[in-house]
């Protein structure tokens, strides 16, 4: 009961923030609502007992990526962009495509006659403090069964960092 209430609360906040993100004129307001949407997603993670993902979402996504977004927004001269009304022309096409997507999802739900996840094992059968600690489980699997993707991802990040530094140095 509590789980459902928390889930619907965070889900509602996330959807509302997402809508507000794309409809604001002011870019910084959009960024703030994107932050709220990400925080709500983190809340959903927490509700699902995935506390490591919750905190990693906050540290990396909100505390890292959004900070960089906001930096760039504030450093780049956005007066020009604000003056041009940018989504006047694509409003109707966007609406059409979203309606098409919604129809597809509705068709899928209707044909299977159940909600996604219905009939799966319910999580709150196990009390939270009996679950194995999240961070250790993630770490164990990252270093045993998912070692190769982990290493590839780190090499990819390293290459991206070096590339960014090289490109920045070349300009100065």
């Amino acid at each position: 009961m509590l789980d459902q209430a928390i889930f619907y609360f965070f889900a509602g906040v996330a959807v509302l923030s997402a809508i507000l993100t794309v409809t604001r004129r002011n870019v910084v307001h959009s960024a703030i609502f994107l932050i709220t949407a990400l925080l709500a997603t983190a809340g959903i993670f927490l509700e699902l007992r995935a506390e490591f993902l919750f905190i990693v979402q906050i540290i990396l996504y909100v505390g890292g990526i959004m900070v960089l977004f906001v930096f760039v927004i504030m450093l780049v001269n956005l007066d020009v962009a604000v003056r041009q009304l940018q989504f006047a022309r694509q409003k109707w096409v966007g609406l059409l495509i979203s309606l098409a997507l919604a129809a597809q999802v509705g068709l899928m739900l209707w044909s299977s006659r159940k909600m996604p996840g219905q009939g799966m094992r319910v999580l709150n059968a196990v009390p939270a403090d009996k679950l194995p600690p999240n961070s250790e489980e993630v770490a164990k699997s990252l270093f045993s069964s998912y070692l190769l993707p982990f290493e590839i991802a780190s090499v990819l990040l390293l290459v991206a960092m070096i590339g960014a530094v090289v490109m920045a140095k070349k300009r100065t």
């Binding site: 506390e51 540290i59 504030m74």
Partner: protein, 448 residues
């Protein structure tokens, strides 16, 4: 309701913290002013209340009744939101901390330390948005600089925490302190370079001198706090001092043994348990002796009250130690009180020592220029902390292989720390030799 029965304690504690912490932070500010005065050969606030004790209340009242000025072109939503974000992040981080084994609002969170660090990192938004909302070019630059500084030093601080976590093996705050108790040695002693890195990085994280250029008064670019006056400014101030407390608590938990007494496992040093009550009694006696020397009547009464409080605290601290000695049968019943009260005392003592060090450094050292600050963070602290993690990891494997536990692990970790320090200094020296970092200012000699 089921929910209320389960969660009433954390709810009440949370509300209490939000209500009481601003008062505590106000008194931390008073303590800072008194320590500043002591180091500068003067007395500090003395007028408002005996020995200036009502000064925080006077300041709070003044700030609350001040006119709320909002710049004309400022963005109202963001202007309102920015200080709230800062304070919210700081107060939320307090929820994850543990003063004693039983005093924790978010009990036994599996990700304890990470939660505190991550949530307090959200305070960066408060700074950036505050600078932007001021609608002033220079406030914005100051805010961006401040947040760039925070982000840079967060990496170094995080890596230093990882070193400590290598020894602890878990992110849970109570388990970390338990691990220090089991090993019998504080992790700050096992990994001194990591402790030092965290010390420096946390001074930069909280925007304190010598890293306070973005908010210094004598600099050209006015800081992000300029346009905020009255209550909004006090929220920022509150956030800064709460961040200090959070950072000190994290360092205490991970590096200084949390709520453990020094040498908590050696039985023959158990007489250290008498230290807290004796200390409080000594302070009480000192207050009593100073009473006749106070100039004003109200100050004499005040000294007597303080002495009484100190003696009461001494009794409270001494009881859990004396009772098991008098009646051994009550030992088990008294133990949780002992752990709680003495644990709280040691924790607060260590946090206070850490914060005193912050203040000491602030009043002694001049300010770093911004490029020197960033150079220190990126070219010295980050390589140092990363190399330290690697080497401490190797030292731990060596320790496991040779079954070195507790104090013996020092044999492995001290060489590792020293080597890490040498390598980092070497990297710094190489970099400084590569770029002659100077003389940008020699204009052509037009008069030669």
């Amino acid at each position: 309701m089921e929910f209320v029965k389960q969660y009433w304690a954390p709810l009440v504690c949370g509300l209490a913290i939000v209500a009481v912490l601003p008062l505590i932070v106000g008194y931390v500010v008073l303590v800072e002013r008194k320590i500043m005065a002591d180091m500068q050969a003067r007395l500090g606030p003395m007028r408002v209340g005996p020995h200036g004790l009502l000064q925080p209340i006077a300041d709070a009242v003044k700030l609350l009744i001040k006119e709320d000025i909002i710049p004309d072109d400022a963005d109202k939503l963001v202007f309102w939101l920015a200080p709230v974000l800062s304070v919210g992040a700081a107060l939320l981080a307090i929820a994850g901390l543990a003063i004693g084994p039983a005093f924790q609002i978010a009990k036994d969170v599996n990700i304890g330390i990470l939660f505190v660090v991550g949530v307090s990192a959200m305070g960066i938004f408060g700074i950036v948005l505050g600078g932007w909302a001021s609608n002033s070019h220079y406030s914005l630059i100051g805010a961006l600089r401040s947040s760039a500084q925070l982000v840079s030093y967060e990496t170094a601080a995080g890596m230093a925490l990882v070193c400590g976590l290598l020894f602890a093996g878990t992110l849970n705050i109570t388990s970390i302190v338990e691990a220090q108790r089991n090993q019998g040695i504080w992790f700050g002693l096992l990994a001194p370079v990591a402790f030092f890195t965290y010390l420096v990085a946390s001074i930069a994280e909280t925007n304190r001198a010598p890293f306070d250029l973005p908010e210094a008064e004598s600099e050209l670019v006015a800081g992000y706090m300029t346009e905020f006056s009255g209550f909004r400014w006090s929220l920022y101030f509150l956030a800064e001092y709460t961040n200090m407390i959070v950072v000190a608590s994290v360092a205490t938990t991970l590096f200084l043994g949390g709520w453990l007494r020094p040498f908590s496992e050696t039985r023959w040093l158990d007489f250290i348990d008498f230290l807290p009550p004796l200390l409080m009694a000594a302070i009480g006696v000192y207050c009593l002796r100073r009473t006749p020397k106070q100039p004003a009547r109200v100050q004499q009464w005040f000294m007597l009250v303080v002495a009484g409080l100190c003696f009461a605290l001494a009794v409270v601290l001494g009881a859990p130690v004396l009772v098991p000695m008098a009646k051994p049968s009550l030992a088990a019943a008294v133990k949780p009180f002992y752990l709680g009260i003495h644990g709280g005392f040691w924790f607060i003592l260590k946090v206070s020592a850490y914060i005193y060090f912050f203040m000491w450094v602030r009043f002694t050292l001049p300010r770093y220029r911004f490029d020197q600050l960033m150079r220190l963070g990126w070219h010295f602290l980050i390589p140092l902390s990363i190399i330290n993690v690697v080497l401490i990891g190797i030292a731990m494997i060596v320790g496991m292989y040779y079954h070195l536990n507790g104090w013996l692990l020092l044999l492995a970790t001290i060489p590792a720390s020293v080597i890490a320090l040498i390598i980092a200094l070497f990297i710094l020296a190489l970099e400084q030799k590569g770029q002659p970092q100077k003389a940008p200012g020699t204009a052509p000699d037009s008069y030669a």
